[in-house]
C-alpha cells in the first residue's frame, strides 16, 4: 500500500531521514517508535507530502506520490492525518470541524454533509458534543473528533503522530480503544506512539527509527523478544523506566 524506497530528507544541512526502505501492507497497522528527534514525525509527514523528500521515492497504492499527474490536495484528502495537538479548528463547532472536508472538498451541501458527520461522531462516541466548541471538550474527546474529521472522506490510509502524547493519562485509553477498533476494521494505519502495550497488541509490524535510520522492522513478537536489536532493547527498557 505504502512503499518507501531509499527515502532521504534533509533540513538544510541536517539529514533527518537516511535511506529508508520499508513497506506498509494494505490493511495492516504499523507502529513507529524510536527516541525523540529520530525522525518519526518527519517520516510519516512525508506520506502526504507535508514534508518534501530530497531523495528516493514513495509510492501509495503503486503510484509515485511525486508523479506529475498527482494533485497534492487529492493525495492528502485520501490520507487521514492526526496530529499530536489535535489541531481542531477552534472557531468551528465539533460537527462543523467534521463536516468541513465534505463541504469544502466534496462540495456537498450542509444538508448532505451534516448527517454523514453526525454518523461519524456517533462512531467515535461524541454525537452529544456535536455543537460544542473545541475549547469546551476534553483532550481525549478532541483527539476523537480529530480522528473523526480525518476519516470523514473515507481515506484508505490513516496516519497518526503520537495521538495520545498530549493527553492526560486517564484519557489515553479512550483514544487507543478507538484506534484498536479502526485497526480491526481493516484500515491501513501508520501510528507513531510510545504506547508499547498498544503496539504489542495491535501492530502488524513495528518500526524502530534512530537518527533517521530505520534500524529495525519486525513483527511485535520479535520486537519485544530478546532477539531484538540492541537499540530496541535499550529503548524499551528506557520506556519502561519512565512509567
Amino acid at each position: 500500500m505504502i512503499e518507501f524506497q531509499n527515502v532521504s530528507k534533509w533540513f538544510g544541512a541536517l539529514q533527518v531521514l537516511r535511506d529508508v526502505n520499508a513497506t506498509v501492507a494494505k490493511g495492516t497497522t504499523t507502529v513507529l517508535c524510536g527516541p525523540s528527534g529520530s525522525g518519526k514525525s518527519t517520516l510519516i509527514r512525508t506520506v502526504n507530502r507535508l514534508e518534501p523528500i530530497q531523495k528516493g521515492k514513495i509510492t501509495l497504492a503503486g503510484h509515485d506520490i511525486y508523479a506529475k499527474d498527482i494533485d497534492v490536495n487529492v493525495l492528502r484528502s485520501g490520507i487521514g492525518f492526526v496530529f499530536q495537538q489535535f489541531n481542531l479548528f477552534p472557531h468551528l463547532s465539533v460537527v462543523e470541524n467534521v463536516m468541513l472536508p465534505l463541504l469544502r472538498i466534496r462540495k456537498q451541501s450542509r444538508a448532505q454533509a451534516r448527517p454523514v458527520a453526525m454518523q461519524m461522531l456517533e462512531r467515535v462516541g461524541l454525537a452529544d458534543k456535536a455543537h460544542s466548541l473545541p475549547a469546551d471538550i476534553s483532550g481525549g474527546q478532541s483527539q476523537r473528533v480529530a480522528i473523526a474529521r480525518s476519516l470523514i472522506l473515507k481515506p484508505e490510509v490513516l496516519v497518526l503522530d503520537e495521538p495520545t502524547s498530549a493527553l492526560d493519562p486517564e484519557m489515553v485509553g479512550e483514544v487507543l480503544k478507538l484506534l484498536r477498533e479502526l485497526s480491526a476494521d481493516g484500515i491501513t494505519m501508520m501510528c507513531v506512539t510510545h504506547e508499547m502495550g498498544f503496539a504489542r497488541e495491535v501492530a502488524d509490524r513495528i518500526w524502530f527509527l534512530r537518527n533517521g535510520t530505520l534500524t529495525f522492522d519486525a513483527e511485535p513478537a520479535e520486537f519485544f523478544s530478546d532477539e531484538a536489536h540492541q537499540d530496541v532493547r535499550n529503548f524499551l527498557s528506557a520506556v519502561r523506566k519512565n512509567r
Binding site: 507535508l50 484528502s77 479548528f89 469544502r104 472538498i105 475549547a135
Partner: protein, 236 residues
C-alpha cells in the same frame, strides 16, 4: 461654554444640514466608518500578500506598506486633493478625497494588524487544513482569516479611534467634519477659542475613550473565549 453649546449644538452635530451640506460630528462618523469599511477588504488582501509566498505580489505589498508608513497622512491628503485632480483633469469632492487618503493610509496599518493575526496562529492550523486536502483559498478564507481577524478585533476597533482622530485633517481641505465646523465657529466668535476648542477636544475624547474601553472589553472576552489561542497585541 454652555452658551456656545446652546447656540451651535445642531451645527456641531450635523453641520448645516438640511439647509446646507451635512457636517459636524455626523460627517466625522460617516467618514470614519466608511473609511474603515473600505479599508478592511484592502487590508485583508495586503495581509494575505505580506504573509503569503515570496514573489512579485509580496514585494509590491511590502513596498506599499513601507512607503505608506514612511509618509505623513497629511502628505497623502495633499496629493489626493491637489495633485490627483490635475492628473485626471477634473476636481474631486473633498470628503471623497479625504476618505481615499485615509483608506490608502490605513490599509497599510490595518494590513499589518491582520498580518500579525495570521502569523500569530499556531502553525498546526494550516497543517491540519493542508492535511485534509484544502487548497489555499479555502484554507485562508475558512480557517485562517476567521480566526486571525477574530483575534485582532481589538486592534481593528482601536484603529477606528485612530481614523476618527485622523479625519480631523479634513478641516485643512475644507471637509465640513467636526474640526472644520468648530474652526468656523471659532471665526464667528473670535474671543472664545478656549471654550470652543475645549468642547472640540471633549467630543473627540468621549468618542475615542468609549471606543478604547470597548477595545479593552473585547480583549478580555476574546482571550477568555479562545483559551489556548494566541491573542495578538495590536501594533497601532
Amino acid at each position: 461654554m454652555l452658551e456656545i453649546i446652546q447656540n451651535y449644538w445642531l451645527l456641531l452635530l450635523i453641520g448645516e444640514y438640511p439647509h446646507g451640506k451635512l457636517g459636524g460630528l455626523a460627517m466625522t462618523l460617516i467618514i470614519s466608518f466608511v473609511s474603515l469599511i473600505v479599508t478592511f477588504p484592502c487590508a485583508v488582501l495586503i495581509a494575505l500578500a505580506r504573509t503569503g509566498k515570496p514573489g512579485i505580489i509580496q514585494s509590491i505589498a511590502n513596498g506599499f506598506v513601507h512607503s505608506v508608513r514612511a509618509i505623513p497622512l497629511l502628505m497623502l491628503i495633499f496629493w489626493a486633493y491637489f495633485a490627483v485632480p490635475m492628473i485626471i483633469g477634473f476636481p474631486i469632492d473633498a470628503a471623497f478625497t479625504l476618505i481615499v487618503a485615509i483608506v490608502i493610509y490605513q490599509t497599510a496599518y490595518l494590513g499589518e494588524i491582520i498580518a500579525a493575526g495570521i502569523t500569530g496562529l499556531p502553525k498546526g492550523q494550516r497543517e491540519a487544513a493542508a492535511a485534509l486536502g484544502l487548497g489555499y483559498v479555502p484554507t485562508m478564507f475558512r480557517i485562517i482569516l476567521p480566526q486571525a481577524i477574530f483575534n485582532v478585533i481589538p486592534g481593528i476597533v482601536n484603529q477606528l479611534t485612530t481614523i476618527i482622530k485622523e479625519s480631523s485633517l479634513g478641516s485643512i481641505i475644507a471637509v465640513s467634519e467636526l474640526s472644520y465646523v468648530m474652526l468656523q465657529v471659532n471665526s464667528n466668535e473670535v474671543t472664545k477659542p478656549l471654550q470652543i476648542f475645549g468642547i472640540l477636544a471633549a467630543v473627540y475624547f468621549v468618542l475615542c475613550f468609549a471606543l478604547s474601553q470597548a477595545t479593552n472589553w473585547l480583549e478580555r472576552r476574546i482571550s477568555s473565549r479562545r483559551t489556548g489561542q494566541v491573542v495578538v497585541e495590536a501594533v497601532a
